[in-house]
């Protein structure tokens, strides 16, 4: 083995050790606990796959999955559409471009919980006041206490916060498009929409893939937003899978049962991400 190769190993090992100790080991431990009846402390017994069988019979778990997927799909589509539009604008030759890029990035550096509590206040007080003044009855009471509308409040906050990061990725993608390609298209007489559809979008397709996969994965794990806005309510209308795992496992004393739920959810997210990558990468190549 040459000296250079060895140096590379030493650069990787610390990270590998930390990852194994703080990530892989706890995951394996969690998997073990999911096969027991442990409340998280004290004595426990091995129960085999009983927790997993009970999951299938628990309609609350199913409700949480349905809610989370609905939320994640809507939020992913909105986030990417809005982020792409903003990125195109910020990439064009406009005044105050650098300042605006900074402004649009601000939501990303704010803590979700703080943003959530501020929006909670807005939804509870400011929005109803505005809606009442304008005579919009649908919005004249706090939407977060309406079981049918509360999820929209969470979508608004989640999208508002997530757009910032996606804009950065799209901007990076747009910078990679060589100027002469677009010039050539302009010379050939392609309009703005045609250029976007046939040149810009295909060229930033890898960035689109990354953004779609990361957004969906992040939104599937939605937690902080909900804690700050509704805490899963009204009733259980906005209980996401992560929140259910936390509430049932840590607050409700069913640690092992909800750990089984977490293991299943982990596999679901991996499966969704792999599927998404495959589909989108195939599209990238054909594009």
């Amino acid at each position: 083995m040459t000296r250079t190769a060895r140096a590379f190993y030493w650069m990787v090992i610390p990270a590998l050790v930390l990852f194994a100790v703080f990530h892989t080991l706890p995951v394996l431990q969690g998997f073990y606990y999911s096969l027991t009846d442990s409340p998280g402390y004290g004595a426990h017994a091995f129960v085999g796959l009983r927790n997993y069988l009970n999951l299938l019979r628990d309609d609350r778990v199913l409700d949480a999955y349905v809610f989370t997927f609905q939320f994640a799909i809507v939020a992913t589509v909105l986030t990417n559409a809005i982020a792409l539009a903003i990125a195109l604008g910020l990439n064009a030759r406009i005044r105050l471009r650098t300042t605006l890029r900074g402004v649009f990035f601000i939501p990303n550096v704010l803590a979700i919980l703080i943003v959530g509590y501020i929006f909670n206040y807005l939804f509870a007080n400011a929005l109803p006041a505005v809606a009442q003044a304008l005579g919009i009855t649908a919005l004249s009471s706090n939407i977060l206490v309406n079981p049918d509308l509360a999820w929209l409040g969470i979508v608004v906050v989640a999208v508002w916060q997530a757009v910032a990061f996606n804009v950065i990725i799209y901007l990076a993608g747009l910078q990679t498009i060589p100027g002469d390609v677009r010039e050539a298209a302009t010379v050939d007489g392609a309009g703005a929409w045609r250029q976007f559809r046939s040149i810009v979008f295909p060229l930033i397709a890898p960035f689109f893939t990354i953004n779609m996969v990361l957004s969906l994965k992040n939104f599937l794990q939605v937690f902080d937003h909900i804690v700050a806005l509704t805490n899963g309510g009204p009733g259980t209308a906005t209980t996401s899978v992560s929140l259910l795992i936390y509430q049932g496992g840590l607050e409700g004393g069913e640690y092992a049962y909800q750990t089984a739920n977490a293991v299943v959810y982990f596999l679901v997210i991996v499966a969704v991400s792999v599927f998404q990558l495959r589909v989108l990468q195939r599209r990238e190549m054909s594009a």
Binding site: M11, L18, Y41, A124, S141, P147, T239, G248, G253, Y255
Partner: protein, 406 residues
């Protein structure tokens, strides 16, 4: 490079462990859950340390203390002395066998037996064990604004009909009868508990556990009366939470507040310019049948195998002295759990007869497994008013949890 990486992981791993005092003094960590009692406990600790110079007690308060204690237990890092609310969480922890057995400990002697029973009923590790000591009792019912009652000529109601008449009087005078805060789902519980303690048969939960009765059979009166109470709330009730409620009630915005005595210090922080009173929520038309909901507000305990057994016990014994409990109760508007202990606070005068006559009952929600999330379903019910759906959910969740735990 390798030693560095190892050293780094060792440092990171060791970071969580506690330190020991070097000079023969023993450091005790006192973990307590009540933010409004931090100063009171500081004073108690100061006096204790004066008498025990070799013991150093550090008070540790955390928001969401119940989750904090659970994560500490998962790590097997148990505080030396623990003060927790005597609720369902306490019962689940005690049943899991993480707390000390105080049966026979001298510190347990001063406690009134019915109050000790309320705590033991939440759950103990083995039959006959005592896994916690009641340090302060609370009551739950109705807090009222004495000035508004006087202005509108209303007496504290003793029957359900009188309560409804009082609410009507206030409503027609343009005063909100109740200030309600269901945006914090748990604030629906005090009213639920008062009704659940008085309307269904007393052995309901034993029979529910045996599968001989359902919520749908025994709970319709509880649920419909709860719905009725909530219709007498202020207009923006659905978006108001506990903190809003304490402030608004202190500003005289409603005549009654469906809360436990633990809300009194919080209301007083906002310096109301009227006198506060309390009465037991009358669920029926027979005043003699009303039982007051009372629970253990602060329960003291320590780990099953404590690191400093003598010192921890010394601190607990000190806290359990009648004069310390009484002083605490006076400051925190609680009731001392001593035999014949009463509160002299005028705000609690209305419920003292129930303590004197022993007409007490525990919190019904503590009998319902936490994972059912009763309060979330109650919140849903007070929003949509769908009584059948609420009872159906409660029964279905109960059966699922029972099947999982069998």
């Amino acid at each position: 490079m390798k030693p560095t990486a190892l050293a780094l992981s060792v440092v990171l791993l060791a970071g969580g462990c506690g330190a020991q005092a070097g000079d023969g003094r023993v450091e005790l960590e006192f973990f307590q859950f009540k933010p409004e009692a931090i100063e009171t406990f500081d004073r108690i600790i100061e006096e204790f340390e004066r008498g025990h110079p070799h013991i150093d007690v550090t008070q540790n308060h955390m928001p969401t203390a119940e989750n904090a204690i659970r994560t500490r237990l998962v790590k097997n890092d148990i505080p030396d002395v623990i003060a927790l609310n005597g609720n369902g969480v306490f019962g689940e922890l005690a049943s899991a066998g993480v707390f000390h057995d105080f049966s026979g400990a001298p510190a347990a002697r001063g406690v009134s037996p019915p109050i000790q029973r309320i705590l033991d009923d939440l759950g103990v590790h083995r039959e006959g064990e005592v896994n916690g000591l009641p340090f302060a009792s609370n009551t739950s019912g109705v807090i009222y604004n004495k000035d508004l009652f006087r202005q509108h000529g209303v007496e504290p109601p003793r029957t359900w009909t009188e309560l409804r008449a009082a609410a009507e009087t206030f409503r027609s005078a343009g005063v909100d009868p109740f200030y309600l805060t269901p945006a914090d789902a748990w604030t629906t519980l005090p009213a639920f508990n008062a009704l659940a303690a008085n309307l269904p048969p007393p052995d309901f939960f034993d029979r529910r556990e045996a599968g001989r009765v359902t919520f749908a059979q025994a709970y319709p009166p509880v649920v419909s009366k709860l719905g009725e109470l909530f219709r007498y709330g202020q207009r923006d009730r659905l978006s108001r939470g506990y903190d809003d409620g304490n402030q608004a009630f202190a500003q005289g915005k409603a005549a009654m507040y469906l809360q436990g005595s633990f809300a009194l210090p919080a209301i007083k922080q906002f310096e109301p310019d009227f006198e506060l009173g309390t009465f037991a929520l009358p669920a029926t038309d027979d005043p003699e049948a009303t039982r007051l909901v009372s629970g253990v507000d602060v329960a003291l305990t320590m780990g099953r195998e404590p690191e400093h057994p003598e010192e921890s016990m010394a601190f607990i014994s000190y806290l359990m002295r009648p004069e310390v409990m009484e002083a605490y109760a006076e400051e925190q508007l609680a009731v001392p759990p001593t035999e014949g202990g009463t509160s002299t606070d005028p705000a609690l005068a209305g419920v003292m007869p129930y303590f004197e006559r022993g007409l007490l009952t525990g919190y019904a929600d503590h009998r319902i497994p936490l994972t059912i999330q009763l309060e979330q379903h109650l919140q849903q019910y007070v929003i949509d008013g769908d009584q059948d759906a609420f009872l159906r959910t409660l029964d279905a969740e109960w059966d699922k949890v029972a099947a999982r735990r069998s």
